[in-house]
């Protein structure tokens, strides 16, 4: 496994546009596949927003992000110190129903699931949330 990128800092919602650019540049330099990279950036953006909006209650908060490459597989690890919450347990919305009959708030997790090939949650040994997002065939 090769680590391509790592940040550990306090992040606010307003920082996300710059972070997305940083992630995109990192992955382009590594010859990331355009579609796969774009998918992962959408998913990772939703994951970080989820941490800030729900975990840190709209406030800035400490977040760690690591981007790894293993052969053609892209793996992103996100850790935060917000109250423990497993987003993978959020029910999948039925997107075939009219907008009226389904909650909108579950779309972030729905997008995380659909823009990745694997999505795993666990609690770190020091008691933090850890979300792992995986995309196969993400490099040319």
């Amino acid at each position: 496994m090769k680590r391509l990128h790592a940040v550990s800092q306090t992040i606010a919602l307003n920082d996300l546009a710059a972070l997305r650019q940083e992630w995109e540049m990192t992955l382009q330099q590594e010859s990331g596949d355009g579609d796969a990279v774009a998918d992962m950036i959408v998913a990772l953006n939703e994951a970080v927003v989820n941490s800030l909006r729900h975990g840190y209650k709209q406030e800035a908060g400490p977040v760690e992000i690591e981007i790894w490459r293993a052969d053609l597989t892209l793996q992103v690890v996100l850790r935060d110190s917000a109250p423990l919450f497993d987003p993978t347990l959020v029910p999948t919305p039925d997107t075939t129903r009219p907008l009226a009959q389904r909650p909108l708030g579950g779309m972030g997790v729905h997008m995380m699931r659909n823009y990745t090939d694997e999505l795993h949650y666990n609690v770190t040994s020091d008691g933090r949330n850890q979300l792992t997002l995986v995309k196969y065939n993400a490099f040319e």
Partner: protein, 139 residues
């Protein structure tokens, strides 16, 4: 994100709102605010031009959802209440399952279109690739 507004016909309560930039958690409120201003000005139908939106997050979907409500004369929720408020109001949305007659989308880029399709929004908000056809559909 920049927002530009055109009102092609002063006699018609219709506007074209063009967005430039990312429609995300930082910008979606600007779209909602602009829609509210337009509603106050008498606008009831919107074509939202997404040609220059390269990135859209789930917050962007909340923005689109809320704009539909605004054009229906429904009070949008206070965003300070968080996403749970959106859950509460979502039952007010279109119950017919048909395309909304008052809000339509123009020319989303493939990445944005993918999110619209994935989340079922393109079944609610009709998507056009041709501006003239889209404008004519409101008449």
């Amino acid at each position: 994100m920049d927002i530009t507004v055109e009102k092609p016909n002063a006699d018609q309560p219709f506007a074209i709102v063009s967005l430039q930039g990312d429609l995300d958690g930082k910008s979606y409120m600007a779209l909602i605010d602009r829609a509210q201003e337009l509603y106050q000005e008498g606008i009831r139908q919107l074509l939202i031009d997404l040609s220059d939106v390269k990135f859209m997050s789930s917050a962007g979907l909340v923005g689109l959802h809320t704009v539909v409500m605004v054009m229906r004369g429904q009070n949008p929720p206070s965003m300070e209440g968080g996403w749970s408020v959106i859950h509460e109001i979502s039952h007010e949305m279109d119950k017919s399952g048909a395309h909304d007659p008052n809000c339509k989308l123009l020319n989303p880029q493939p990445r944005v279109r993918k999110t619209l399709d994935m989340t079922g929004f393109s079944r609610i908000l009709e998507v056009f690739s041709d501006r003239d056809t889209a404008v004519a559909s409101f008449q």
